[in-house]
């Protein structure tokens, strides 16, 4: 494994960073809970709005446009995951590697062009 500062494994230090993050939030919440004032009012618990009561359900269906972009993102993000190992050794692969990954990229660019043509990139 890769060693880092003090010769500790990086994985261990990742856990340390994780715990530090969780600890920061938890400790600050505990401190705030101890020293912050508490009050009770029926109005305070209501959803923040412009002065009138919220009408209808707030956890509701939302625009499908966001969902389309999420699906497109998924496609290209998986592509990024596949391309990273190639990127790291691209120099030693030489022209052959370029051709094979060029085919892969072509298929993906075609996919983007198809989505574009179909109007998936158009915000409606």
């Amino acid at each position: 494994m890769e060693l880092s500062v003090f010769g500790i494994q990086s994985t261990t230090l990742m856990v340390v960073a994780l715990i530090t993050g969780l600890g920061l939030v938890a400790a600050a919440l505990v401190i705030a809970g101890l020293i912050s004032p508490r009050s009770f009012s029926l109005q305070k618990g209501k959803a923040y709005e412009c002065g009138v009561e919220t009408r209808g359900e707030s956890m509701m269906q939302f625009k499908v446009g966001y969902y389309l972009f999420a699906i497109l993102f998924l496609m290209f993000d998986v592509e990024t995951v596949f391309l990273f190992p190639w990127a790291a050794i691209c120099r030693s692969l030489g022209p052959d590697g370029l051709i094979s990954v060029g085919v892969f990229l072509c298929v993906l660019i075609l996919g983007l062009a198809y989505a574009w043509r179909k109007g998936a990139l158009q915000w409606k």
Partner: protein
């Protein structure tokens, strides 16, 4: 190259601890020290960044900015932090309590993990995987989950719209960030952060990498601005439309976490830009100017790294106060119809440059 290696210092400390206590205890003590340091640097840096942005924003608008607390107002954000700590945490009705409480944890943990990967100086890096860049991208994309959860669980229409916008924006711009980072990985031939910085010893990538590196840097700057939800892409918190976006319902320190993480993310993206393009902690050298290079070597590596990160942050803050906010359709069109195809072609261009050895 006679930059001070912090490894000497940490090894000496490690040996010192090993000599007075068993090996496992030394490791535990060191982990605690790292955790405390991480916490301290994280919070102080975030507070400094809040001050930095307020001052810059004021100067861009010919104002003075915070001036009252401390000299030039430097203690203003500390005062604000204590104020926010003693604010009431309002208990809301009709919210999803578990997800509402979980969201700040995710946001903070995501920024803490990617913060720990940044190289501060020679031998001064906390997490050093050989796939460090990849880990950084992975860790920083946890943050969007926190934002989506915050918006959804608050049971408020403003927060829901803010979270949805933020989700669409962050995942879209993450692709361009990933692509421009990948372009530089192709050039460097390594994903380890130490390796990336070491490869820039004889010239920063933005100078060595020809045109594709410059294009990648520009794409990275735009995409990073989008990914951190900063203006002109600050749609999720467009205060004229959505009050405060996804964190409208959060009060007191609960809100403070989002604020803290937002400013830390600004530092993280600037740090990544400085490490991928501007040579990380490597000093600025001009080939042939021996005296100049020797003087540059005397500036400590930590100062180089922080200085570069502040410089990139300055540019990103400058964007915010120069451009008007874009609409959501313009925002997504910019990413998917311009940045993304340009990024893909730039990747091919960089591969050509690398394979046929057209670089310096």
């Amino acid at each position: 190259m006679n930059i001070f290696d912090f490894g000497v210092l940490t090894n000496w400390f490690d040996n010192l601890l090993e000599s007075v206590m068993p090996s496992w205890a030394a490791t535990v003590v060191e982990c605690v020290i790292i955790g405390v340091l991480l916490l301290a640097v994280y919070s102080v840096l975030a507070l400094f960044y809040i001050f930095y942005e307020r001052k810059l924003c004021a100067w861009f608008q010919c104002r003075l900015g915070p001036m009252r607390v401390g000299p030039w107002g430097v203690l203003q954000s500390f005062a604000d932090m204590f104020k926010i700590l003693i604010k009431e945490l309002i208990r809301l009705e009709n919210i999803d309590r578990f997800l509402f409480a979980l969201a700040p944890y995710l946001v903070i943990v995501a920024s803490m993990l990617s913060f720990a990967v940044l190289p501060w100086g020679k031998g001064l890096q906390i997490i050093d995987f050989n796939i460090g860049v990849f880990f950084m991208i992975a860790a920083s994309s946890i943050g969007v989950l926190g934002i989506l959860l915050a918006g959804w669980s608050s049971n408020n229409k403003y927060t829901l719209i803010g979270a949805m916008r933020s989700g669409a924006q962050m995942i879209s711009y993450e692709l361009s960030v990933g692509l421009s980072i990948m372009t530089m990985v192709v050039f460097a031939g390594t994903m380890s952060i130490t390796g990336l910085v070491e490869a820039q010893a004889d010239g920063w990538f933005i100078f060595k990498g020809h045109l594709p590196a410059v294009i990648a840097f520009i794409i990275y700057l735009i995409a990073a601005t989008g990914e951190t939800n900063r203006g002109p892409f600050d749609l999720p918190e467009a205060e004229h439309e959505l009050t405060a976006g996804y964190h409208t319902e959060y009060s007191g320190i609960h809100f403070g976490f989002f604020y803290l993480a937002e400013y830390l993310n600004l530092f993280i993206v600037s740090g990544i830009a400085s490490l991928m393009f501007l040579g990380g902690w490597m000093p600025f050298h001009v080939p042939g100017w021996e005296g100049f290079n020797a003087i540059m070597d005397y500036i400590p590596s930590v100062v180089w790294f922080i200085g570069k990160a502040f410089f990139v942050s300055f540019i990103i803050i400058w964007f915010k106060w120069s451009f008007p906010r874009v609409r959501i359709d313009q925002l997504l069109a910019l990413e998917w119809k311009y940045l993304m195809p340009i990024g893909l072609f730039n990747l091919v261009l960089m591969t050509l440059v690398v394979v046929y050895g057209l670089h310096f």
